[in-house]
């Protein structure tokens, strides 16, 4: 196959190749070889991605590349191609996914060095990269869905990677089941669209939307179902509960799958279908509102968590909420912008937490850390930079992307009559969450790296490893500078311009600017406000955790109910347990105890299975072993058929 015409196919194929080789033969390879295959294939995919996107960069996002590999399904007038699409949106996704994956692969060579299932780990990780690349490159929804399911599967496999531990295995199952609920929504959304347009390729859907093939009501329904899928994959209310538990997996996995890439798939999907969401202000408003609520609630939970990875997990949920606010208010490019910067700083944070956990041989409780600044300098500085980025301090990346989202939410509204309030509410929740983010992130930094050591004296702090420190440094560097590509405060709009060919039209459809939207002084004032709340959060954290470290516990005592409410994550898990899982379970028990045992057993047969088995036993008795009986049934069959036909034809 000519490499030029099939380059898009090779981008995902390389990691797949790595996964197959490591999965099948990895056990017989040496560890460096396994690592080299794992990192090498992903690195090559990244390079290929760069090569393939040269034209698109050169044309500032105007060019696009569609390569069809194979007519996947052709039946009647249905034709689904296995084809890939590279435009400015997928360029960003491919480069972020392949680039961050590469760094995390490198990091993993150190982190997983002593794990007995080294090869299996790299095989899964490569398989994940393959699926994720299929997801972002898919030219139609079925291909996207294949990737969507693939990443879900890999996530499940990797969360339960240490499946010997039942809690970890069950965390994997929880993720799997919650995601299935979302996937059902995704499928229904796809069917609705197919029913209306008769095709599922992105271009046909776009054309169909433009021709008005999709009625507004249908668009809203389809969008809401697709968004249900997004809430599952991207851990939004009400389906976010799986993500914190997913921290049971190895930390690089949390960094890659549960922070940087997979969980952003929902945001990507909405940006990809922005033309569709744009014609449904209702669905968009729901997206924005859910995003804002998630950002706020997850941030408050983050305040009270003691497990370093759980804090970061809720922080991820919260940051994903921001992205949904962005795509909900029609600022699709801002959502993708934040997706990109978040991938950098959150991957860095997770890898940093992994470095801490690795150095402390598995301690994850931040109340038992402290004073690690000196012992883990690389980790500390990169972690600090990323914290500044996520908390929204200029000039770090998170400031620009988060500020862009907040400003767009404040300065725009949509065609729905009440959208004005929704956007304001989203802004309010966003700014509040920003303050809280700053607070809990610095709480994390202070408790982990500052103050006196509260470590168990028996723990020996390991040295930092180079293979782990270098990726941290690269990511921290990106977290510092990446924001400048979209620093609209300073008149830099390159990121928005680059994405404009893909999402620009949709944005124009969706958004109604408020009258002050182009007023620079108000924009500056809003930005100053964002920075101010970040400082407030930082200051509070400093007061509570450096200045007077006893205060938090006193506060927790004083506001015991509130603290426990938040610490227990608003009892959402318990709520689901009590109102969804228990009732279903109780209903099953009722079916089993009452309907099955009493009613059906009362009549002598135990459930349909027994009934069928009973018939099976009768059939078995007919099979008596006597060949004469068999011949009898042959003649009986002939006679029966004749009788039936004679009756049907009316001969007798």
């Amino acid at each position: 196959m000519d490499i030029k015409t099939s380059i898009l196919l090779w981008i995902p194929l390389l990691p797949l190749f790595g996964a197959i080789v490591n999965g099948l033969f990895g056990r017989h390879f040496s560890r460096p070889l396994v690592s080299a295959i794992g990192c090498g294939t992903v690195g090559m995919a990244f390079v290929l991605g760069l090569v393939a996107s040269a034209d698109i960069f050169a044309s500032n996002g105007e060019a696009r590349l569609v390569q069809s590999v194979y007519a996947w399904i052709t039946a009647g007038n249905i034709s689904i191609q296995l084809s890939f699409l590279l435009d400015s949106l997928s360029v960003i996704m491919v480069l972020v996914v392949a680039g961050v994956s590469f760094l995390i692969h490198v990091y993993s060579t150190g982190y997983m060095r002593d794990d007995p299932s080294h090869a299996r780990y790299f095989a899964y990780l490569n398989l994940f990269v393959f699926s994720m690349l299929v997801l972002v490159l898919g030219d139609n929804l079925p291909v996207l869905f294949v990737g969507w399911e693939g990443v879900g599967l890999c996530s499940y496999l990797l969360i339960g990677f240490w499946f010997e531990d039942p809690a970890k295995a069950s965390a994997g199952k929880k993720a799997f089941i919650v995601n299935r609920i979302g996937d059902l929504g995704f499928l229904i959304g796809m069917f609705l669209l197919f029913g209306a347009v008769g095709s599922l390729s992105i271009d046909d859907l776009r054309a169909g939307t433009a021709q008005g093939l999709i009625a507004p009501g249908l668009a809203t329904a389809a969008c809401l179902f697709l968004f249900l899928g997004a809430t599952g994959k991207s851990a939004q209310i009400p389906l976010y509960v799986w993500l914190p538990d997913a921290m049971a997996g190895p930390t690089p996995v949390s960094a890659l799958i549960h922070a940087a890439t997979m969980v952003t798939a929902g945001v990507y999907m909405i940006a990809r279908l922005s033309f569709l969401f744009a014609i449904s202000p209702t669905a968009s408003a729901v997206v924005a509102l859910v995003g804002g609520l998630t950002a706020l609630i997850a941030a408050t939970i983050g305040i009270t968590q003691k497990d370093i990875k759980k804090v970061l997990a809720y922080s991820t949920v919260s940051q994903l909420g921001y992205m949904f606010v962005a795509v909900g208010v029609g600022a699709y490019f801002a959502g993708i912008f934040h997706l990109m910067t978040h991938a950098f700083f959150k991957a860095c944070l997770f890898l940093g937490s992994g470095a801490v956990i690795h150095a402390l041989s598995g301690v994850q409780d931040i109340t038992k850390m402290g004073g690690l600044r000196k012992k883990l300098p690389w980790t500390y500085w990169t972690f600090l930079i990323s914290t500044l980025a996520i908390a929204g301090f200029p000039p770090f990346a998170g400031f620009f992307s988060k500020d862009e989202i907040l400003w767009k939410a404040l300065s725009s509204t949509s065609h729905a009559p009440w959208a004005s309030w929704v956007h304001l509410a989203a802004y309010g929740m966003g700014i509040l969450a920003a303050a809280i983010t700053s607070f809990y992130m610095f709480r994390l930094v202070f408790l982990t790296f500052h103050g006196k050591s509260r470590l168990d004296p028996s723990i020996h702090v390991h040295h930092e490893m180079k293979s782990m420190s270098y990726p941290l440094a690269v990511l921290a560097g990106l977290a510092t500078v990446a924001g400048w590509v979209g620093a609209s405060l300073f008149g830099i709009h390159s990121f928005a311009d680059f994405l404009d060919p893909v999402v620009g039209a949709a944005q124009k459809t969706a958004v109604v600017m408020r009258d002050f939207a182009h007023n620079h002084s108000i924009e500056w004032a809003a930005a100053v406000g964002s920075v101010a709340v970040a400082f407030i959060g930082l200051g509070l954290a400093w007061l509570l955790y450096i200045k007077s470290p006893d205060t938090p516990w006193r506060l927790a005592e004083r506001f015991r109910f509130t603290y426990r409410l938040v610490f227990n994550k608003y009892w959402v898990d318990e709520f689901y347990e009590a109102f969804i899982i228990r009732p279903i379970h109780a209903f099953s028990v009722f079916l089993w105890r009452i309907v099955d045992v009493v009613i059906i057993d009362g009549f002598g047969v135990n459930g349909p299975a027994r009934l069928l088995k009973g018939i099976g036993h009768v059939g078995r008795r007919l099979q008596s072993g006597n060949v004469q009986a068999y011949a009898f049934w042959l003649f009986a069959g002939v006679a029966g058929a004749l009788l039936y036909l004679a009756l049907a034809v009316g001969v007798i």
Partner: protein, 511 residues
Amino acid sequence: MSNLVSFGYIVPELLLGAMAVILFLLSAMRRRNLLRKTIFPGLAILGLMAALSVLVNRTSGGIFGGDPGCISGCSLFFGLLATDPLADFFRILVISATTICVLISIGSPALPKGRTGEYHGLLLVMCLGMCLLSAANHLLMVYVAMETVSLCSYLLTGWDARKCRSREAGMKYVLFGGVASGVMLFGMSLFYGLFGDLSFQGLHLALQGSGALSGAMGQWAATLSVVFMFAGFGYKIAATPFHMWCPDVYEGAPTPFTALLSVGPKAVGMALILRFFYSIFLFPGSMETVIGASGQIPWLLLIGIVSAVTMTLGNLAALVQNNVKRLLAYSSIAHAGYILMGVTAGGQEGFEAVSLYMAVYLIMNMGAFAVVSLVEKASGSEELQVFRGLGKRAPLVALVMTIFLISLAGLPPTAGFIGKLYLFAALLERGGFWFLMLALVGVTNSVVSLYFYARVLKSMYMEKADTDLPTIPIRNPAAVTATALSFATLFLGLFWQPLATAARWSATLFH
């Protein structure tokens, strides 16, 4: 077409026959001790591959674009045989099936060591019979080809003369088969008397022109004779109520041969039923006239009923089996029912679905039997309990079996799912009430069948063996074949388009 020209079209059959003769001769000379045992499977595969390559060479132009070959009117030996895509598709299937059978026979303990030459010779003759049957266009040819297949099957079923159950199965098979072919032959003779011809074309013309079906008596006689013949066809595909021989014979026959028996005769039986019903009773132009053309006799409905009863009975009986080989026998009865759904649907879609499903069924079912053969070889039994803990003892074999079982149950992402999809789609395409009901029965049955396939899975992965069971060696042709088939099952579950294209091509006869 004249005899001389016709020979050019049956080169695959000639090759198979010649190789069979060579095998018989060589095995007669085995006292010279020059020939080792491995030469027989080698020669058999050589013959099969030669036949297959001739066939593929001839048809490859037709499948993927280009000339579809003789669509109609190409009949050989003055109408005895047809040469068309349907015949070629099923020839390729049965030759492949025989090849797989030879491969999984290597090293099987169920086959007596001293008689490998005859064994392979008979396999080739059986393959020859199946090739002829899939092309048979004349009732004489149908009879002769079917008996060729049957006689070889009887012998090979009773091949393991050391085992009681092999002998018993052979005896039952020959008695039941004899009765079935007697009934079929009697139907043929009546049919001949009514219409004065035995070739399908002639019968078609006679049916079109004659008033034989106008009177009640004529209609009665025609019905009787077709039902009699259908008993013979139904016996070949193991459709209820002509299936009773099937579980006993499958269980008793040497496992590698069971694999072939569960696929080959069923495939050509289906081809025969398609050809028989649709080329004799169909008036040119439209599928819809099938019912009307056969004198108001609702053949389709009859086949539909047989289909529903067959799959239901097969699945229900499989629920209570504890022997995996016997379980698969009932499962193969159920699959005959599924495939008959496609026959009932008819039309381009129905034919396509039958061809496609038959190919898929060949792969997954022979694979499952290959695994059973491996397990049987290692543990001396094929009861469900020797499958316990297979996931631990022999992970690869268990995984391969899992793929086959998932495919047989018709779940994605396997070929079995695609096959079922095409069958149901064909029925839904027809869209009448009875077709929908049949589809409903089919779906319900698929759900029921999950239970017993899952039982095997449960046994392999979740139950511990009571005693120490041996692991299963995987460095042998049978295990490699099974693994390759499992790959094919997965592959076709994702990329079935080439197969669908070939299946569509095979149905061009009935455009």
